[in-house]
Symmetry: C2
């Protein structure tokens, strides 16, 4: 028995390869890292890794995290520049007793020390998208539309769970802005004895509810992954609307230690699933009347 | 009815002044910020603010956070240099809808933009302590002893709660290392409808349990602050020992929306309390046989 779930359609190729690894009995750390890295490396995915979207100064700063459900050890990097794979750096940091969470120039320096290659993360696409938006922002109010984190949760045949995330964060964010993706309990959480979760959406909202930790906790209390994910997302959505007047997009994927998965969302949201009984497939989730409706992705579904 | 609790004896002067403000009916945001700022400004407190202890490169990098229990809005800064009051910057950021969490040079730049003064945070004491430790570290294994965060939780006469933290983090940490203090749910959490908490100790351990969120959650389920704090700290301590073989020091202060307070710790720990019925006083907490014993500080208690 193994299982793998990831946020957004863009994770499809990664999930196929990660699933193949889990099928072969490779451990979940390697499989989840590889799944994320395939998304990070693809320049046409402008919200993650290479070719990610820059901050308001035109610099690409990446966030990422990796958590080992066996030991609760985690690594996290925030606002790191010139690193092709934040999830790889986060995984290396997760082996540290101290200094497992590094940001900015310190994170970059540590990557250099660890022998990671420094590269220019920008592409023609990321540059032109930036310039176009900069032009638009002179004309309209600032808005933050693009913020798609790849979040992956996996279970291997030995019963180990891993959660990992990677993102370039909010497009046109401020220099140094860090979202929920590298924040333990908010963007990700994993505990072999219970389950794991990873989030995507507007970090500033996700963090207010410590969403990933809350979902794992609900699974600990006996909720199914689907019930835990729905409950946590809808309660946070309701709370934010009541307390500050609105809630931005919030989505989460999760899995319990038996490989059963769940998805919570307050907006249209696509995700990818593969497990020992099913090939990788893209699904589409939509909230409606306090429930999440899930179906296979159809051609007419305009989701990423 | 108002109430104020803070980590470590060093918070005494700050608590006295914060308590005076709460007594006069001043709001908890101002009172908690002032409490933290008094600790930040004192150069003889080498774990917070001005005169804080440097990282391994000799640079002082500060972490801090501020959370408003009314709106769940929070601000957080990590590894920020040359800012006298990280809690003040965090409070300003907590008013943002986006970009409420900034790190490194981006945080410093935003502080400049907001008109905050840039200062040299080092003192003769912090410099000499650094040089002495650098010398020692050439001779022995690396150790991280000093990591005292000021964490403050307060309730004002209008029933609003705030949690805030400020620290220079682990002494001799790596450039860019961020601990639990600016991490929502781990170092701090506040919700007017339930309660609030703030932590101190080794961040890498505190974060593995999302400690502050967990304590607030236990209070939501009906636990008293004292029971919630003890339960969460001891469970995390036990879990860490079972899963990775050891647990470092972990302490927490918390309060519910009625102003009742609680303290959890797995090591000797001093804290300061003041409320509408009691003058500010320093207490000493010690874990023993699965309980926390609390008494007024005596001369023989060698705690900070």
């Amino acid at each position: 028995m193994w299982s793998l779930i990831a946020t957004w359609k863009m994770a499809y190729d990664g999930v196929c390869q990660g699933a193949e690894m889990l099928k072969q009995g490779i451990n979940v750390k390697d499989a989840v890292e590889k799944t994320v890295q395939i998304v990070e490396a693809e320049p046409s995915f402008t919200s993650v890794g290479f070719g990610g979207l820059p901050n308001e100064e035109g610099t690409i700063q990446l966030d990422g995290a990796f958590m080992d459900g066996a030991t609760l050890r985690f690594g996290a990097v925030g606002a790191v520049e010139n690193i092709a794979s934040p999830v790889h750096l986060a995984r290396l940091l997760s082996e540290n007793e101290f200094n497992c969470q590094l940001v900015g120039k310190g994170a970059k320096k540590e990557a250099q020390r660890l022998g990671l290659q420094q590269i220019d993360l920008s592409t023609e696409l990321s540059n032109s998208t930036y310039l176009k938006r900069k032009e638009e922002m002179n004309q309209e109010l600032r808005s933050y539309n693009d913020h798609d984190t790849v979040g992956v949760v996996g279970l291997d045949q030995s019963g180990h769970l891993v959660a990992a995330t990677s993102t370039s964060g909010l497009f046109m964010k401020k220099d140094g802005r860090v979202g929920d993706s590298p924040i333990i309990g908010s963007g990700f959480y994993a505990d072999d004895e219970i389950g794991a979760a990873a989030a995507t959406g507007v970090g500033e909202d996700i963090m207010k509810g410590c969403l990933s930790y809350e979902i794992v906790r609900l699974m600990k209390e006996g909720d199914s992954p689907q019930k835990a994910a729905e409950k946590a997302v809808f309660e946070l959505d309701e709370k934010l609307k009541r307390r500050i007047g609105k809630a931005h997009s919030i989505s989460v994927v999760c899995m319990n230690r038996f490989g059963e998965w769940g998805v919570g969302t307050n907006c249209p949201f696509a995700f990818v699933i593969a497990d020992s009984n099913h090939e990788a497939k893209v699904y589409y989730a939509e909230p409606k009347n306090g429930n999440v409706f899930i179906r296979e992705v159809q051609k007419e579904d305009r989701v990423d």
